[in-house]
């Protein structure tokens, strides 16, 4: 859910230097300056992130000459297997990334420890970070991680296809009705019946479906006991049905058309619901596509969308004070500003959402606006993630009703939850 460089202006803060008097840790003894420490840091790899975190590490080590930070950047395909097996063996890193959806399991198992209050006061963290990004890493009044790789849902559209369809390329759809009518105008079917241009690329991606459910009025995907409970909600069903109908009834997308990303890059998909990180990706992989960005079109006056993230946590075997110092450095205001500028991933600090430098770019500003309206997703555990897409495929390929498919997804999620003993 992360990745790809977003190159913006070069006039950004220097390499991870903490601004004096703003994001510094509260005073008090934290670590002994005469003792040597090592922090082993693992993250899943992207070129832009690795380079940047390495720079942060070098700057951090200059400021703290008694602390060595060893960075290991692991390809995403291998990251999870390597992480859980080494953590289980007790040999794992001191600081590592986990997806927000996995935090509750790591916290419950005792494999991670809370951030050090000596280094970073909890109420300061709660004041400075967005609640939607911090909540997954909080448990029983303690904070176990600091968020990173924050992503929401926005709409990216092809301005040239808009023009070709007689639409104003600078006016994206405002609401669901316009999404549908624009998509119908953009969609082209050849004489042989094959789709040549899709008005709206779809994939059954759970943050997108979740976004639509919230917009339709669903309050939460879980009930007061923590069980998944969305299938019987009229708003959730309305949203899921609308999403399915885009393909089955209105035919603005065809599963045979292929990947929506490949199609967008090839200039054959008019609109896609997307993470902001794809802006950086498209700059590199779709240089010929003239694209624009908007927040998700509203429904019933609602532009709520879903935030997903990873976070840095501290292993139970690590020195919490040293690890927290490093994590604080990695997520301070200057670092997050640089992070956003160079990777396209959104900041988790509330103050940065109105930062003048970052919001100079209108696309970044739109992404920030989406973050202000975002709610956390409950579907980010790997056990739950594919189930919404499967439900969608059941409707498209097996003719199941949206209500039955959604109920199936809910039952499967609760079954998986029960199997985990949660």
């Amino acid at each position: 859910m992360c990745l790809a460089a977003l190159l913006l202006t070069a006039a950004l803060a220097g390499c991870g230097s903490t601004k004096k008097g703003e994001d510094k840790a509260p005073p008090g003894p934290a670590v002994d300056p005469n003792q040597k420490y090592t922090v082993v840091h693992w993250q899943h790899h992207s070129d832009a992130r690795q380079k940047m975190v390495q720079q942060f590490a070098e700057a951090f080590m200059k400021e703290h000459s008694n602390i060595t930070v060893q960075i290991e950047s692991i390809p995403q395909a291998d990251y999870w297997n390597k992480l859980v097996t080494t953590v289980a063996s007790g040999q794992g890193p001191d600081v590592f990334q986990i997806p927000a959806g996995k935090a509750v399991e790591f916290i419950a198992s005792g494999q991670v420890q809370p951030i050090s209050q000596k280094v970073l006061a909890q109420d300061k963290v709660q004041k400075e970070f967005m609640a939607s990004t911090l909540d997954p890493f909080s448990s029983q009044g303690k904070i176990y991680g600091l968020p990173t790789d924050v992503q929401t849902i926005i709409l990216i559209y092809n301005k040239d296809l808009f023009k070709a369809a007689g639409l104003d390329p600078n006016v994206p759809p405002k609401n669901w009705d316009e999404v549908l009518s624009f998509a119908k105008k953009i969609t082209k079917i050849g004489a042989d019946g094959k789709m040549t241009v899709s008005g709206l690329g779809l994939g059954g991606y759970h943050p997108v479906v979740n976004t639509l459910m919230y917009q339709a009025g669903l309050k939460d995907t879980i009930d007061s006991k923590g069980n998944f409970a969305f299938a019987a909600d009229a708003a959730a069903l309305e949203a899921f049905k609308w999403y399915c109908d885009l393909t089955t009834v209105h035919k603005v997308y065809d599963p045979k058309f292929g990947s929506r990303w490949t199609g967008f890059r090839a200039g054959t998909v008019g609109m896609v619901f997307s993470h902001p990180a794809m802006m950086g990706n498209f700059k590199l992989t779709a240089p010929t596509v003239n694209w624009g960005v908007s927040e998700v079109p509203e429904y019933k006056g609602n532009r709520t969308n879903v935030v997903t993230s990873w976070g840095y946590v501290i292993s139970k075997k690590a020195n919490a004070d040293v690890a927290t110092m490093w994590m604080d450095y990695l997520t301070n205001e200057a670092a997050q500003k640089k992070w956003t500028a160079e990777t396209g991933e959104l900041p988790a600090r509330t103050k940065l959402l109105d930062d003048a430098d970052l919001t100079k770019d209108p696309n970044i500003k739109i992404a920030f606006e989406s973050l202000k309206k975002a709610k956390p997703s409950r579907f980010t555990d790997p056990a739950y993630e594919p189930l919404i897409q499967k439900a969608w495929n059941m409707v498209l390929l097996e003719g199941k009703s949206p209500a039955d498919a959604l109920k199936w997804a809910e039952d499967q999620m609760n079954a998986e939850k029960k199997k985990k003993g949660m």
Binding site: V87, A88, P255, A383, K419, K420
Partner: protein
């Protein structure tokens, strides 16, 4: 010439390399020790460790909890396990006979004395075997593209409606089997070629003298003498299919239509972190593979000339 006693004393025999390793009785074990140790460490020991784990609940992060036969009971009612086992069964029962039969046909052709550019053809047929699986799957996914792929283009040219290939549950498994047959054909062919070249030419000549035609020579002479080779190919192809992971992992059809049981075990272990349940499924799969192998081994005595 008469030699003195001193001259008659023979120099001490030079110590051979074999002697340095303990002599002919001990040396073989020393030479195979590293490979055996490696095999034990990465295959046998983890497999044995999986057995007690199959009676536990463990998410890798917390402590293990003994739960008796609960995991095995869950397997009985897990629709996903049975679906992936069914997928694996279809994959094996359809893919193996096709691959073996085609390989035999290709080997018979490549064994002909009058075939021009024989070595070139042998290389061409073996190339898929040594091609990276990731690269090959990537290319085949494009070949299978319903709108822009080569296969539907060719089908269209001969008046056949396009197929959804990997984008529909009804055709995704067939698509995967076609790919796997292409990928493994060269390897099976080489095995058959070795078997064919082990058949004495005199037996064929004798059959010709007796008036047998081509088909009769193949059915009554060649095929029976290839039984051991055929058995080897069928046995190894069956075990390989039952244990296949990489193709299922890379070539993904919708609604788990191409998910094989080993992939489901892997995802249960490493995505949903249910190591105990995954181990239990692995034990069940092991038992199934052993049973099938046992049956085939017993049948071998009936079918081969040992």
């Amino acid at each position: 010439m008469y030699q003195t006693g001193a001259a008659r004393a023979r120099p001490a025999p030079r110590r051979s390399l074999l002697d340095s390793f303990g002599g002919p009785k001990v040396a073989p074990f020393i030479f195979i020790a590293p490979a055996v140790f490696f095999f034990l460490a990465v295959t046998i020991v983890p497999a044995l460790m999986g057995f007690p784990l199959s009676f536990s609940r463990w998410n890798l992060l917390g402590a293990k909890a003994f739960i008796g036969l609960d995991n095995f009971r869950e397997i009985l009612t897990d629709p996903m396990f049975w679906k992936t086992l069914r997928n694996t069964g279809v994959y094996t029962l359809v893919g193996v006979p096709i691959e073996v039969a085609l390989a035999l046909g290709v080997a018979l052709l490549l064994n002909r004395d009058d075939l021009p550019l024989k070595n070139l053809f042998r290389t061409v047929y073996f190339l898929p075997v040594i091609t990276s699986t990731v690269a090959a799957v990537f290319i085949w996914e494009w070949l299978y593209h319903p709108n822009f792929g080569l296969f539907n283009y060719v089908l269209g040219k001969v008046g056949i409606d396009p197929l959804p290939w990997l984008t529909h549950p009804k055709t995704a498994m067939m698509s995967m089997i076609i790919y796997v047959v292409w990928k493994g054909l060269g390897y099976r062919t080489v095995i058959f070629l070795a078997g064919l070249q082990g058949i004495p030419k005199e037996t064929q000549e004798a059959a010709v003298v007796d008036g047998a035609n081509t088909w009769q020579r193949f059915w009554h002479v060649t095929l029976p003498l290839l039984r051991a080779t055929t058995f080897l190919n069928v046995l190894t192809a069956t075990i390989g299919s039952l244990m296949d992971f990489s193709v299922s992992y890379l070539m993904v059809g919708p609604l788990d239509s191409t998910t094989l049981v080993v992939k489901y075990i892997y995802e249960t272990a490493f995505k949903t972190l249910r190591m105990g349940y995954a181990s239990a499924m692995a034990m069940v799969l092991f038992a199934i593979v052993m049973l099938i192998t046992f049956i085939q081994w017993k049948a071998r005595k009936e079918l081969t000339y040992d």
